[in-house]
């Protein structure tokens, strides 16, 4: 009896182990290739054209403050609260211009906002579908009415874009949605791109933006780093960047072409494919446990114990 059960157990442990091994090894196998949709909406930010006027920041806040729960942030020196002076993306700021200065000659502005990934990590991890990717426009949108505030999207996002309202009793996540419910609906363009006086932010379809970026690189190869940030990063993003300085210096992390969500979903799907493995595990365990219990079901349980001891 005992020996039998041990064999069963080992068989089972072996099977489960093998299953898990397979999923680990699965990650090493080739993926079915990136499927990039160039019809999605996006923005191209050209850091060399940006003059750092921050008109995009103020336009974003003006348009989205009610819908997106944005507010003005006072700087420490500014006791009268004259300026909106966020120091980083935050629970009240969706987009931000920063200046990176290496020396007096070498410097660059950089704009931060949601990258609207082709395969967004935040959408992949949100347990209640509060983060969604619109199938046509490709906008990565957030719905505060379903969000539970678990902040897994913040852990998952490689660009650290989603921000949480830490100081509020009824907080929410704040991130760019390409003005989906405000400026984009009314005027067909995001507020930052509409406002930008130098044309540093271009709004449009990803494919058009990409060919535009390639053309600019070809025209002025000396001016730019020979790379379009977002073309391949993390499975590709709809927010693209051109700059004259290395992107990781501008706070844009080096990310491999494979989307992080591809990797994690592959493992999760291997384990839970069709929910077969959990059901199989449950049935197998039930079979073993019931069989084991039969050996102990006497008129009295004590007797069963005595048997077991012998």
């Amino acid at each position: 009896m005992k020996r039998q059960s041990r064999r069963d157990f080992l068989k089972l442990a072996g099977a489960t182990g093998a299953g898990l091994m397979a999923c680990g090894a699965g990650s090493a196998l080739a993926s079915d290739g990136p499927h990039i949709n160039n019809e999605e909406m996006g923005m191209l930010y050209d850091a060399t054209m940006c003059v750092g006027c921050k008109a995009c920041m103020s336009a974003c806040k003006r348009v989205n403050s009610d819908y997106g729960s944005l507010s003005y942030e006072k700087a420490r020196f500014d006791s009268d609260g004259l300026w909106d002076a966020p120091s980083d993306l935050s629970g009240s700021t969706r987009t931000l211009i920063k200046l990176f200065k290496e020396s007096d000659k070498r410097w660059s502005y950089v704009k931060y906002s949601c990258m609207h990934c082709q395969k967004p990590s935040c959408v992949s991890v949100c347990p209640v579908s509060a983060m969604t990717k619109e199938p046509v426009s490709g906008i990565v949108d957030y719905n505060k009415n379903t969000c539970i505030g678990c902040r897994y999207c913040q852990v998952a996002c490689p660009y650290n874009i989603p921000k949480f309202q830490w100081e509020k009793a009824l907080p929410q996540i704040v991130k760019c949605d390409l003005c989906k419910n405000t400026n984009l609906r009314e005027k067909g363009i995001s507020a930052c791109a509409e406002t930008c006086p130098t044309g540093a932010i271009r709004f449009g379809k990803r494919g058009e933006l990409l060919s535009d970026a390639h053309a600019r690189l070809k025209e002025n190869p000396d001016k730019y780093m020979a790379h379009i940030y977002g073309e391949h990063e993390g499975g590709g993003t709809n927010h693209l960047y051109l700059a004259s300085m290395p992107f990781n210096k501008l706070g844009l992390p080096d990310i491999k072409p494979e989307a992080p969500a591809e990797f994690s979903e592959k493992i999760q799907h291997t384990i839970y494919k069709g929910f077969i493995a959990p059901v199989a595990l449950y049935s197998a365990l039930c079979f073993i446990a019931v069989k084991n219990m039969k050996g102990h079901k006497g008129p009295d349980d004590g007797a069963a114990h005595e048997k077991e001891e012998n």
């Binding site: 902040r151 509020k168 929410q172 959990p278 449950y282």
Partner: protein, 450 residues
């Protein structure tokens, strides 16, 4: 399966000095929970947009549920590996699991920013099967329910055998005007007692299916707790970020579960001044090193496969924590390979502590220490944040102390220790009723009331 005489209540007072100390800690923690709900999470914690998960998730959820895996590990041993001699350990293991998981759920509700939306977990159109978090949440909720069901027999036994002393005390203490009539109350209580006697054998018949569910669910969500961090490929240090995270977390929770069952038994025997269950414990301890060796092998194999061995030995901050975790588990397991040490409660305590510490450190490494969101982010828990966690742990210990006094949870010390289960086989059980008799009496009682 009614092993009721196998367990006993702990004799003694509930309201001791330690009870009130623990209560004070719990109240302090709950004060800060109140502050968190009024002024926001930022008011009590040092979490930030870079470190959105602090110790509430890392300790209370990721580590706390592993520590609460005693019930899972012992259930595998008893019901799947068919080692009935370990059955006396199971109830206290299930009780700690129940508290561990229940309070992990509670601290999630403290940690969630928008807990009023948590009902979305039950709305199929909102389900998101790609999310490891979704899997963890549903499994943990289901498992907590299963744990409560697994514990119900202890409560039923307790009701069945109750003389309602406390109930009568409360009645006598109340003013005669508001106190219920003694006879009516006793009739109703008798009905409850008969109801419990009627329900118990029926529950016992199906209980095994819940027990097996209680083995399947932790297998699923403990591995998914590892999967949670798979997505953070750019933030989690390569020492820990691997496709084997789910497997490592699963094995990790099994050996933590066994080690914590040993620790818990030793500590409760020491505190409640009962004889040590050396037989069971040394047997249990003999299993632990086999599980840990598998875990250590997977860790090393994976590091070699991904070419991270040099990173592990580099001697920097990350490699230091990695070595600490690795060596604690290895040292604890090494001690348990010696039969002599396995029979000494002192050495069992030492080695089990090593293994629990090492296993828990592994989880801290994955969730916090090895997690680096980028330049400029730093995290160390604030006082209030720590006190909320400490308060929750204190509540766990408090609940355990009260429950072992109210319900038959601890192994029966009589005839224990030297040779186990020398129970008189055919002894009459004065208070236990035959279910059929109970049912008839129950019907009669209901008739009387009408």
């Amino acid at each position: 399966m009614a092993h009721s005489e196998e367990f006993q209540k702990l004799e003694g007072k509930i309201f001791t000095k330690s009870f009130f100390i623990l209560l004070a800690v719990v109240l302090l923690g709950f004060f800060f929970v109140g502050v968190r709900y009024v002024k926001g999470i930022g008011a009590v914690s040092n979490m930030s947009d870079g470190y959105p998960w602090g110790i509430w998730i890392t300790y209370d959820v990721a580590t706390g549920t592993a520590i609460a895996c005693g019930g899972y590990a012992v259930a595998i041993l008893v019901y799947i590996r068919n080692r009935m001699q370990y059955h006396p350990l199971i109830r206290s293991a299930i009780l700690t699991s129940m508290f561990g998981y229940g309070l992990a759920g509670f601290s999630v509700m403290v940690d969630l920013g928008r807990p009023w939306n948590a009902y979305n977990f039950f709305i199929p159109s909102k389900w998101q099967a790609n999310s490891a978090m979704f899997e963890v949440a549903l499994c943990v909720m289901a498992y907590s329910t299963v744990l409560i069901i697994e514990f119900i027999p202890a409560i039923l036994t307790s009701i069945e055998k109750s003389n309602w002393e406390r109930m009568n005390m409360v009645r006598n203490w109340l003013h005669p005007r508001i106190a219920p009539d003694e006879k009516t109350m006793n009739d109703k209580l008798e009905m409850v007692r008969l109801g419990a006697a009627w329900l118990k054998p029926r529950l016992n018949k199906v209980l095994i299916f819940f027990i097996v569910l209680g083995i399947t669910l932790p297998t699923m969500h403990q591995s998914s707790l590892g999967s949670l961090l798979l997505i953070a490929s750019t933030k989690l240090h390569p020492l820990w970020h691997t496709g084997f995270l789910p497997l490592l977390f699963l094995i990790n929770c099994v050996f933590i579960g066994y080690a914590i069952a040993i620790l818990e038994s030793i500590i409760s025997c020491y505190c409640f001044k009962r004889p040590y269950e050396v037989e069971e414990l040394s047997g249990l301890a003999g299993l632990v090193p086999f599980v840990t060796v598998i875990w250590l092998c997977v860790v090393i194999g994976d590091l070699v496969y991904r070419g991270q061995v040099t990173a592990a030995l580099r001697g920097d901050f990350y490699s230091g924590f990695f070595m600490a975790e690795f060596l604690l588990v290895a040292a604890g397991s090494l001690l348990l390979f010696f039969k002599k040490l396995r029979r000494s409660p002192r050495w069992l305590f030492v080695s089990a502590s090593f293994i629990v510490l090492g296993g828990a450190l592994y989880r801290f490494n994955v969730y916090l220490i090895g997690f680096n969101p980028g330049k400029g982010w730093r995290y160390f828990p604030s006082f209030a944040e720590v006190m909320i966690t400490v308060g929750i742990v204190a509540l766990e210990i408090l609940g355990y102390k009260v429950f072992v006094a109210l319900f038959p949870v601890l192994p029966n010390a009589a005839g224990h220790g030297s040779k186990q289960h020398k129970k008189p086989v055919n002894q009459a059980k004065p208070l236990e009723l035959h279910p059929a008799v109970a049912q008839a009496q129950l019907k009669a009682a209901i008739k009387n009331l009408n």
